[in-house]
Amino acid sequence: MLSLPLLKQSIKSNAVMWGSMTGVMTLLCIQFSSLDMTRSLLFTIFYGMMTTILPGIYVLVTANKLLASQVDRGSMAYVLSTPIKRSTVTFTQAFYLVNSLVLMFAIQTGAHLIVNNISPISFATLGLNMLKGDLTSKMIIQVNLSALMVCIALAAVCFMFSGVFSSSKYAVGLSGAFTGVSILANMLAMFGSLGVEGLDKFKYLTICTFYDYQSVLFSDSDWMVKMIFPIAIAVIAFGIGEIVFSKKDLPL
């Protein structure tokens, strides 16, 4: 099911993009969680936007490189001239995509846990006066888990377009439109929740709605229920990508 040599190649050829996105995300996280000036914005800006924008850019570029661009350029011919099945190719590439995101969030979460243990942040600093005490490690892990699931769903949709289309321009175009609209609508919806009237309706336009850090902070179980949707979207989208890629005619 999994081809190690192909996985290695995927890791290698996407290392720069993955490394820089992980680096930027981790550094921003450390900055927002440790500097007094930015601490109060940790959730509105960092967890509100950065945890979808940065992985969003990463999956948009990477999903295309994993399938569509290789078909478009013709290098997929070399991979498929070996005894490796197309289904193994899609499985390996999807495996890479999901796990690179998991690792990206793991590193960022780890950094945040360390910072938060050294100097814990209180709910009052975050502007949540109705809550008492400090942000806990458990909450940090739960918030990131919630964000990760939505990013995996984004990745799956980009991967689906990458598997369906044999031309980068369509794969990137549609993935870009989808990711862009999702992230933008999420930002607009956030302004809505901050009090701008009417903008809160944008939450119905984006799968980022299923990422709910508020629910984690208020210790209810909404966020866990909402995780079902991105998981379902991911399973369906990866499935479609895999089936179409395995069945279609490749212009190689």
Binding site: S3, L4, P5, L6, K8, Q9, K12, S13, A15, Q70, R73, G74, S75, A77, Y78, V79, L80, S81, T82, P83, I84, K85, R86, D249, L250, P251, L252
Partner: protein, 306 residues
Amino acid sequence: MNDIIKVSNLTHDYGHGRGVFDVSFTVKKGETLGFLGPNGAGKSTTMRHLMGFSSPQSGNVSINGLDCRKSTGRIMEKVGYLPGEVALPDGLNGREFIKMMQGMHKTKNDERTAYLLKKFRLDTDVPVRKMSIGEKRKLAVVTAFMSDPDILLLDEPTSGLDPLMQEVFIDFIKEEKQRGKTILLSSHIFSEVEALCDRIAIIKDGRLVSTVDAQEVRHGLHNIMTVEFKDKDDLLQFCNSGLELSGRDDKHLRCSVKVYDEDINAFISAVKCLKIKGFSEHSVTLEEYFMHFYKKDRATGGVCYA
């Protein structure tokens, strides 16, 4: 089962007259079939079906009795493929690419790989994206042959190689032939097809127009005899002798006839009693034979004077 590669009634219409239509041929064990045709004739399309990249709209394509689309993985264990395009995966250098391909083929034959690298004089420490087209092609050649497959599908293998390397490559394929490999070689270069192939299939506009035995081609497919006479009566008598005319020039009292090897005696008896001023023989090469099919269509009905 002697037929290793079998294409029967393969049809795939891409519209605008592009594609392949009702193409059938077989390649027997140990045989080398040349697949000759101009650009866009359908050579690569046929290869694409053999590689299982595309499904036929109708017809069947099989290798070793296995359907090329359904059993691609199993077929590829025995197949070495040299793509027509040299787009290699990025982010690797030569050695890493070789290692990746070895891993995916699940074979590791270092001795043979070293032999191939030496033969094609390839430096594997260069990143793939910095390689010239020729170097990339050589790298593709090495990876296609390093697992020592029994069946070789080569799509325009020498394009991008310098003349010296083309020679090395042709020698190498001759070696592989000696070792009993079954080879399908697509090309538009006559010399390499003539030098390597046992049989030659000519494809044009997606249709197979002719399959010839390479032995015949090397011998000349047929000869064109041009005879110049001293007087017109002899010319007329010669023209009516029942030989196949391919040209006549009354002003210079010249006449050309198409003569196959088995007709040579008939030709000699036809000219024996005539007064001849001059005489020339011209063997039709594969190139002319090919051009004959190729041009026939361009000028309506204008068969070229070959």
